[in-house]
Symmetry: C2
Subunit: 245 residues, 2 copies
DNA sequence: CGGCATGTTGAAACGTTTCAACGAGAGTGG
DNA sequence: CCACTCTCGTTGAAACGTTTCAACATGCCG
């Protein structure tokens, strides 16, 4: 469908900062090239650490997309707001993940700090400079975007056909990256119930009830407010896939 | 979140066909470079016309991603199927749009022909070859993927917080590309009700009821089965945004 | 220890789904 | 050309799950 205006590429090319500003980026900004690189040290002036307070807006949908960010600490949520004030969270970003990487001159979503957040940011001109000079970087970015698209389509699938309990189960499982299955694990997410609800497309009450239900059945546990212990991942998986109630 | 396995880039690089097969792609396959290019003529062996019958599977989720396709005629749907047999359509592709452009070696969704479909396809090795040799093409692909991601996030927003009537209204408006507002327009979509329902995350009955409701109120009309006339786009927009019932 | 934000639970209202029946349209063969 | 058939679309009524509104509990921070 690709239902967008259609001139984003040209805008991209005609960005305010021309691609010829060769000394714009030296080593510092190359963080963006690394998938899981370490934080660059030194005093390069092109990247900067920026911190945000809880619930602070990092950028707003429609604003000029001046920077691309990487999360160092905390969590960031990308939201889209409706006319009636309700919001949908389209993605969360955890440490080492990159957000705010846009093609149009304006951001397509709003980014907010979930808790205290520390980021590293790179100006768009610098990102564009690398696009033009480093042949490999675009491939890495394509791979990154491909993953995001895949995740987003998974999200669509979840919202389209899963019940509240299935959504909650799926949600926790997306954080279970490459563990030996059937091992219980703990999630220390800095997210509140409202954040989870807005990601799952549910009300806070329904989310809560689903959590309580899973707790009652000893599939998960919540020792603290923002800690989740998944006791029985395989059962949770069965629930998420609709193979168990 | 980017909840995927995490080794897709390496798989991408290590594709079966090495990038050095220089004469793999001459003019024909460069269709992929053009956003709205014309169909290449001649007898280049690297692209091929392929047609599919109604409801035929073009490729299956998990299969080797051997080709990238462009729609010439008809419509293609990308679906993800649940364990219980229900499906979610994550995207439609109409003429001139490209699908099956993957980073991993395997397709992430299943593609099916909605009606009779004519496509042009390009082998993955060729696509990869261009990635390595044409510096501009990756930028164009990034822009394309960025649009897809944006559309997908819009889809998430729709499924997360909109009612049946809002979803149907939003759906028709996504096809209204750059028209002077308030002008009624006609859509000649080759989609059946089930396809629309599966895209909107609704049942066919609910979709039908929403359509009937909009018809009764003279906001839309359905002269033929797969034709939709939007009589009052601004009213439809108000409904989609929750500003009107 | 208040005071306040956040989380949890209950009961009624609401919208969507389900199951069932019926109608309309397209294609085929008599 | 009509009648037949089959698929697809439409409508109705009950069942179901989520939302809403309300109250209460819990945790956190001054």
């Amino acid at each position: 469908m690709s239902n967008t205006s259609g001139t984003e590429v040209d805008e991209f090319r005609g960005a305010e900062q021309p691609l010829s500003s060769a000394n714009c980026c030296r080593q510092g900004c190359r963080f963006f090239a690394a998938e899981t690189g370490s934080v660059p040290s030194g005093s390069d002036r092109n990247w900067a650490i920026q911190t945000f307070a809880r619930n602070e807006t990092i950028y707003t949908k429609g604003a000029k997309s001046a920077f691309t960010y990487r999360v160092l600490e905390g969590a960031v949520r990308l939201t889209r707001v409706f006319a009636d004030g309700r919001r949908q969270i389209v993605n969360f970003y955890l440490p080492d993940e990159i957000f705010g990487f846009e093609f149009s001159d304006t951001y397509t979503s709003t980014a907010e700090a979930v808790g205290e957040v520390v980021t590293m940011r790179c100006p768009r001109s610098c990102v564009l400079y690398h696009s033009a000079t480093d042949p490999d970087i675009n491939l890495r970015r394509l791979a990154m975007l491909g993953k995001s698209l895949n995740a987003s389509e998974k999200h669509v699938t979840m919202l389209g056909h899963q019940s509240a309990r299935q959504r909650v189960a799926s949600f926790f499982l997306t954080f279970d990256k490459g563990r030996s299955k059937d091992d219980s694990f703990m999630l220390d997410l800095p997210l509140g119930r409202q954040d989870i609800a807005d990601y799952l497309g549910l009300t806070i009450e329904t989310t809560c009830r689903a959590l309580s239900d899973l707790k009652r059945r000893r599939i998960i546990d919540t020792p603290r407010r923002r800690q989740i212990v998944v006791r029985d991942p395989s059962c949770l998986k069965a629930i998420a896939e609709g193979l168990a109630a």
